[in-house]
Assembly symmetry: C2
């Protein structure tokens, strides 16, 4: 059983009637995962809508040489598996705890029933899936239109913008995960960091400083459509 107040704290449920949120909470449960624990496998049926309350989760896929690659990292509070749940279809990616995680799970059939019966919840679902859709369209543009070094440059510019810093900032996760997020190998990522030195990018472990953002922008050509 999940406390109403937990669900109420999630933007997904902000516009939904209190009684409806309470009923949804009754169908859900909380679950903790330890580091590296599998949350669900690629190809498995979507049994739950997942709400990530704490910790980081990697969306994973098997690469053609059998490795498990992390395609995307989710940070709290975030909903995941929403498209599989609403389409009642198998998961296209797996999910794995990258550190100890706290997840609320709502059974897929229940969330589909609530979404059918409560238009404000349907509206919110449309909004959330629309936002996630746009996030992934940006990734496709990035992957198709930029070199891997430009992708890294855009990522660092977005991070600096998001954290609203002029000086130094930290990468939110390790370089192996960052490589997967940007669609390159760890070796390629190291080479890309080295290439960006000439545009004023300085790194010490996970600390990054952008000494010449204008030059980096001219090279990486970000677009800031949100």
């Amino acid at each position: 059983l999940v406390e109403d107040s937990v669900l109420r704290s999630i933007p997904l449920f902000a516009d939904v009637d209190e009684e409806v949120v309470a009923s949804i909470a009754e169908t859900g449960h909380e679950k903790e995962y330890s580091r590296d624990e599998v949350i669900f496998d690629q190809g498995s049926e979507a049994e739950y809508l997942h709400l990530l309350m704490a910790g980081q989760v990697g969306m994973t896929a098997q690469s053609s040489d059998g490795r498990t690659a992390v395609l995307e990292v989710m940070r709290p509070v975030e909903v995941f598996s929403i498209a599989s749940v609403l389409s009642d279809a198998p998961h296209l990616t797996g999910a794995m705890a990258l550190e100890p995680c706290w997840v609320v799970r709502i059974p897929a059939a229940e969330i589909r029933r609530f979404t059918d019966e409560h238009p404000p919840l349907a509206r919110t679902m449309l909004h959330v899936i629309g936002q996630q859709f746009r996030m992934i369209v940006r990734q496709v543009k990035d992957l198709k239109l930029r070199s891997s070094t430009q992708r890294l440059g855009c990522y660092l510019l977005a991070l600096a913008r998001e954290q609203n810093v002029e000086g130094e900032f930290r990468l939110p996760y390790d370089k192996r995960l960052l490589a997967g997020r940007l669609g390159m190998t760890p070796e390629n990522l190291s080479r890309a960091f080295a290439s960006l030195r000439e545009y004023g990018v300085e790194t010490h472990g996970s600390r990054v400083a952008l000494h010449n953002p204008a030059a980096l922008e001219a090279f990486a050509a970000p677009d800031f459509l949100r």
Copy 2:
């Protein structure tokens, strides 16, 4: 003004009440585009939901060197700009007629109002956007986990499967567009076709034959999660 019967022929509206479809039709209009005509620009406000009734439309983006790249090709009957319309946000990609097209346009504000007021329409929108979301997740997996030659192999295998043919089939659009769809340059695409010869891929213009699908599958490692 759009005929009800036109909208009724679209799966999007199959489960929606007749009177609602009639009201939606009243707000819409039909528009023809000639080859290479811009339907909307990247970054512009989403004014309409677009229903492609005939012709092919390319979803476009500016690459960092200023070229217009076609990221995806839509074929009838397909809905496009749905995420921008529902999120009331600027278009992340442009759209361009790749050949003479017939499009039905429904004003964005009207479609948001109808979606709010009619739960069966909201349900259908969720289904459509969920399907498009999954389509694009598959693209991201493809772009991040496979080489460009493997991507071409997977694409040809999917095409053969879709057209359910053992022998020869035709590419649905020209090689320049195919290169954009697969995230490579036309030169890379030619090299990839040449590399696939050793796995039994034979091409003559737009005609393709797969003489050894098993070898091609072993090389390209497709997954058929839908």
